[in-house]
């Protein structure tokens, strides 16, 4: 069965081709089910392979399948090859599983759109690229997926291409990602020059010989690759594209900009855990960037009124957590959070989409409120997602986030403090969104109130599935009790080499149960404080938020405007380059180079004109010039 791993990405590609080439006259339903069915088929194959993998010895759960040799040139030999191991298995299951649910939801959400077929083509193409990304056995094929998801993200953000803001956002996403890819590409070159291969397993096998622990080379490689990760996973300083990416249809935000694509950077760092473990400086950089992003994005999340933007900043913040986990060496916890986050964040986005659907596209939470009664299913599923992300026991987010905070504390209390404060803000802004949307006094526009309706089952059933997953998804990773952390055990062989490097030189850390319980209690308390604070401010005393804003007007303006980072980037990079390019074109190309070219032509012409005056055709003139010539020659001979 593992030999058939290539089927997993192939199905969505087939779906893309069928709908893309022949789907012109297909009815909406057929297009939707071809799209969803192809991803579902991938999930089934992935599940079968998963079962087979679990049946094997833990140590031998790493298999490769080469389909054909893709690029052969000089020393370079890149196969179209796949790697099946616990890490790629988790990713394959999450991507195809959550992907399938979101496809089905989209059939309802996108109903009646002019570009229905185009939407499903892009979505299938995206899943294809994403599955390639997470199952590739070498850097270059991974890069194919990496760029492929970036392309689909570009196309889907700009889905409503007639809106300028949408096509702008798509372009911004692509270009900012390209900046990250620049680093990724250089990292790949450096790997190839060092190892002579791009295949992961060969690189890991050779790493202890070719690289020195903490050496400059491995640090440079890992940092360059991390630049790529900051682009794709929207971390400081390349996060600016993700909030704008909310211009795309909401299921796209759920699939690409929450559950799957944006986690690619985390996956990459985890995949290369061994290399990162060998570069302590890079690990620290990853942890610091992750922690800083988690904190920074959360502050912005508090101030936003657009429900999707709140979720977008929350995504950036949660991705920061995952990177912080990787940076402190808890790779499995990072992937654990990646999985639970995929469940609850996809759920939150899709529930937000359901709210939008009910309110004829309204996004501003100031014009919502009291929707609990009219949208019962949307309400409870959104609430489940919020409980999960806030980290309320026993929802999925509690287990994964708590684990990250625990390892962060072990590494350095500073990371824990940042993480805990960010968790407080997370809980606050998420419950804020719940209360502003579903509770309190309705503040709807008359038009929205008129059309108010709960979404059809094709949308609410996927919500419920994800709500259940958000509730039980964490049970695979229960801490404290020996043998209950199935998730960690499953992934352990993948990260074993990295853990060995990290543990070397450190005494086996014996963490006390008491500490674990204290930290757990603290993070739960933090989540509840955030919840109660939001309840007090937005439910009990609705006038408090405005007073707070008035009190801290300067600060609020700064944060609400996202610290003016977009404007700063525009000024520094965009405008200056455009102006300089205009200068080059107008001054250098047109004036200097063409000036010389045309100048040579003009001079030649002028000479010609000048010499023409001599050619008068009158014999007396010629005789005169002969006379002058003779005089000159004789004069020269005489005076020599």
């Amino acid at each position: 069965m593992t030999d058939l791993v290539w089927l997993i990405p192939l199905f969505p590609l087939i779906g893309f081709l069928i709908n893309g080439l022949f789907g012109r006259s297909f009815p909406e339903k057929l297009i939707g089910w071809i799209g969803s069915g192809s991803v579902g088929a991938s999930f089934v194959v992935a599940a079968l392979i998963f079962v087979e993998l679990v049946g094997m010895e833990p140590a031998s759960r790493s298999l490769q399948k080469v389909v054909y040799t893709w690029m052969l040139s000089g020393d370079l030999n890149v196969p179209i090859g796949f790697l099946v191991d616990p890490l790629s298995m988790v990713m394959l299951l999450v991507v195809s599983g959550v992907g399938c649910i979101i496809h089905i939801y989209s059939i309802g959400y996108m109903h009646g759109e002019v570009g229905f077929r185009r939407y499903f083509c892009y979505l299938n193409l995206f899943v294809f690229a994403m599955l390639i990304l997470v199952s590739a056995n070498n850097f270059l094929l991974m890069f194919v997926g990496w760029e492929g998801v970036g392309l689909c993200s570009y196309l889907l953000i700009g889905y409503y291409y007639e809106k300028k803001s949408a096509s702008d956002a798509g372009k911004k996403a692509f270009v900012v990602n390209r900046v990250g890819d620049f680093g990724f590409l250089l990292g790949i070159f450096l790997i190839f020059v060092t190892f002579g291969t791009l295949t992961f397993t060969d690189i890991f096998a050779a790493a202890p010989q070719k690289l020195t622990q903490g050496g400059e080379l491995v640090t440079l490689i890992t940092l360059l690759l991390f630049v790529g990760a900051t682009g794709k996973s929207a971390q400081i300083p390349l996060y600016t594209w993700l909030p704008d990416a909310m211009e795309g249809p909401t299921p796209v935000s759920a699939l690409i900009h929450a559950a799957t694509m944006v986690t690619a950077g985390v996956y990459m760092v985890a995949r290369l855990s061994l290399l990162y473990a060998m570069a302590p400086i890079s690990m620290t950089v990853v942890a610091v960037i992750g922690g800083a992003t988690a904190f920074y994005a959360a502050t912005i999340g508090i101030t936003q009124f657009d429900i999707k933007r709140v979720l977008a900043y929350s995504t950036i913040s949660q991705l920061g957590y995952m990177f912080m986990a990787c940076g402190v060496g808890a790779f499995a916890s990072g992937i654990f959070h990646l999985m639970t986050h995929a469940f609850f964040k996809a759920l939150l986005f899709m529930a937000a989409g359901s709210v939008m659907h009910a309110l004829s596209g309204e996004l501003d939470m100031r014009r919502m409120g009291g929707l609990k009664k009219e949208l019962p299913h949307t309400h409870w599923t959104y609430l489940f997602g919020t409980l999960a992300i806030a980290g309320i026991v026993p929802f999925a987010g509690f287990f994964s986030k708590d684990e990250i905070l625990f390892y962060a504390f072990e590494r350095n209390a500073g990371f824990w403090i940042i993480g805990a404060v960010a968790a407080l803000m997370t809980s606050f802004y998420m419950f804020r969104s719940v209360f502003m949307t579903f509770y309190g006094r309705p503040r709807l526009t008359p038009e929205a109130a008129h059309h108010l309706h709960e979404s059809p089952p094709i949308m609410t059933v996927p919500l419920m599935v994800l709500a259940v997953l958000s509730l039980i998804g964490g049970f695979v990773g229960i801490p404290i009790f020996e043998g209950w952390h199935k998730f960690g055990e499953f992934l352990a062989p993948v990260f074993a080499p990295a853990q060995k490097v990290l543990k070397a030189g450190h005494a086996e850390g014996h963490h006390s149960l008491a500490l674990e319980l204290i930290l757990m209690g603290t993070s739960l308390a933090i989540a509840i404080v955030g919840w109660l604070l939001a309840k007090w401010m937005y439910l009990s005393k609705p006038d408090v938020p405005d007073r707070v804003i008035d009190e801290f007007k300067g600060l609020h303006t700064l944060v609400y405007n996202k610290y003016w980072i977009d404007e700063l980037y525009d000024f520094l990079f965009v405008n200056s380059i455009v102006n300089f390019s205009r200068f080059l074109w107008r001054r250098f190309d047109d004036l200097v180079i063409d000036g010389i070219v045309n100048g040579v032509a003009s001079i030649t012409l002028a000479w010609g004109r000048g010499l023409r005056l001599v050619q008068t055709g009158l014999v007396k003139d010629y005789a005169l010039s002969i006379l002058f010539g003779v005089v000159a020659v004789i004069g020269y001979l005489v005076l020599r």
Binding site: S73, E147, G158, Y161, K164, L186
Partner: protein
């Protein structure tokens, strides 16, 4: 005659000219018949080139299917053709585009159709001849032959406002370089003849002649100018935007797809192997000019208001990659460079075709005049998107293979050059996507764009063959890389070997007391040439 002993190379070189002669007997107003004849001959040419591909032995790096006839024996001039892994795909690119340009101009050109088709057919002969010639004199003849029809294409069927300026600029720029090259060819001919006692223009015999360093420098410089103008390398590129913009659509297509490759091909076939020491010494400044070209072309492309000019400047950027990879002198770099030549021909050729299609409909090329075309021309939008992505270098399509190999090959020897070049990849995304957004996305603001017709069957037929190769190279590049590799390795070995021979020769002065002195160029110490002879 047996299949394999048939002179296929002569066949594919001259079939278009036969078509051109045939066209002379047609009535001036029999437009469709003449177009059909031209199409048939171009198709026959393409089929002939497929036979060449079939007969080509991909595991050999030698010149294959060679043909030899005495031409002017007293002067050592011969008619000698041959194909290897380097020229094979450039020839195939040329023959593939032959029928496409005839088809693409079907409705565009309505004026002096006969002369137009004859020009295209003669041009085709000239271009294929340049890629196949193995005799310097023959090469020079083909090189100059193609100048005339191209001049006519721009000057007669171009955009009336500025076509004469553009055509003359194109010709003068090129001739300045070619004449210097002619001088260098003759100098090489006499120098080698004097040394060996046999005067010949045979490329292989000249390959074997070790040119003294100082002479190499000047000859390389002359060849460099001729080819660098053709490529075009920064700062010799200013003829290109004008020529592209003013030329009719198919003129731009042929110019971009094939004519520019003459420059890069000239380097790899003539300038570098003939003068390897000078070429290696020139590596650093040629690389820098290429890097400047990559970034400069991208930046200036970004601010162009005219789509055609934008694509023209993007060519400057793309050909920077070609030159960079070639001067890395690694297998990956040189193969990437050749793949990138083909890629640029396909992608940029297709982009010019696409621009031509909307120009035919709207008679404007200004980006500002468009906007929202996706709405009225959805099929066109799909093709435009794919070729844009191909040009940007998206993995899975052709552009990525070339760029990646070039960058990797360069990184192996000059990491910093690769870093700078890789940043050009970012800007490529900026200028192409920005243009695409302004032309295709947004609402239709100009009412003239509302009634635009989507592309029809003929236009789909024009674009689809290119699309097939764009995907093929991206998904299975080995079809193209395998036959290339032996020739590329040959090329690198030859350069390396000859370089050593020349250096050894220079280090064993034939006369005592000859000191190496810094030449006036200041580039390097060089021995006195006359002494060496």
């Amino acid at each position: 005659m047996e299949f394999s002993s048939f002179p296929w190379l002569t066949f594919i070189t001259f079939v278009p000219s036969v078509g051109a002669i045939l066209l002379l007997f047609f009535r001036r107003d029999a437009h469709t018949a003449m177009r059909a004849v031209a199409l048939v001959f171009m198709l026959a040419d393409f089929v002939g080139s497929l036979a060449v591909y079939g007969l080509f032995n991909p595991s050999s790096g030698a010149m294959q299917l060679q043909e030899f006839r005495e031409w002017v024996p007293t002067w050592g001039i011969a008619y000698k053709l041959g194909v290897d892994g380097i020229s094979l795909f450039l020839v195939l690119l040329t023959t593939l585009l032959g029928p496409i340009v005839i088809l693409a101009s079907w409705e565009d050109i309505q004026y002096r159709v006969k002369e137009f088709l004859v020009s295209l057919l003669v041009l085709q002969t000239g271009m294929i001849g340049v890629f196949l010639a193995l005799d310097l004199f023959l090469f020079y003849v083909f090189w100059e032959i193609m100048l005339i029809p191209m001049y006519l294409l721009i000057g007669v069927w171009g955009n009336p406002a500025r076509r004469l300026y553009a055509a003359i600029k194109f010709v003068l720029y090129t001739i300045v370089g070619s004449l210097l090259m002619l001088v260098a060819i003759l100098a090489l001919y006499f120098m080698a003849g004097k040394a060996n006692g046999v005067y010949t223009f045979d490329l292989f015999k000249l390959y074997e002649f070790a040119v003294p360093l100082k002479a190499q420098f000047w000859m390389f410089l002359a060849f460099f100018l001729a080819f660098a103008i053709k490529v075009p390398m920064f700062p010799f590129h200013t003829w290109l935007p004008d020529a592209h913009t003013e030329a009719p659509t198919v003129g731009s297509v042929v110019l971009a797809a094939v004519l520019l490759k003459m420059g890069t091909y000239g380097f790899i076939r003539f300038a570098i192997p003939l003068f390897p020491n000078a070429a290696l010494d020139a590596t650093w400044w040629i690389c820098w000019l290429s890097l400047i070209g990559i970034i400069y072309g991208a930046w200036v492309a970004m601010v162009q208001p005219d789509v055609k000019r934008l694509v023209a400047f993007s060519s400057v950027s793309h050909l920077g990659f070609v030159m960079l990879g070639m001067f890395a002198f690694t297998v990956e770099g040189v193969e990437g460079s050749i793949v990138q030549m083909v890629n640029h021909g396909l992608s940029t050729g297709a982009l010019f075709l696409l621009v031509g299609m909307i120009y035919e409909r709207r008679h404007t090329r200004l980006i500002a005049d468009f906007g929202g075309l996706s709405k009225v021309m959805p099929l066109y939008a799909v093709f435009f998107m794919i070729f844009t992505l191909s040009s940007i270098g998206l993995p899975g399509l052709n552009g990525f293979i070339g760029e990646f190999l070039v960058l990797l090959g360069t990184f192996k020897v000059h990491p910093w050059y690769a870093v700078i070049a890789a940043s050009g990849v970012i800007f490529a995304a900026v200028y192409m996507l920005w243009m695409f957004q302004r032309v295709m996305f947004g609402e239709i603001t100009n009412p003239k764009n509302l009634g635009l017709k989507d592309i029809g069957a003929r236009e789909v037929a024009v674009l689809t063959p290119i699309l097939i190769f764009v995907v093929w190279i991206g998904v299975y590049p080995n079809t193209f890389l395998r036959p290339m590799e032996p020739s590329v390795k040959n090329f690198l070995q030859m350069v390396d070997k000859k370089k050593t021979v020349v250096l050894e020769m220079e280090q064993t002065p034939s006369l005592p007391g000859v000191k190496t002195v810094a030449s006036s160029s200041g580039a390097r110490p060089a021995a006195d040439v006359t002494v060496q002879e």
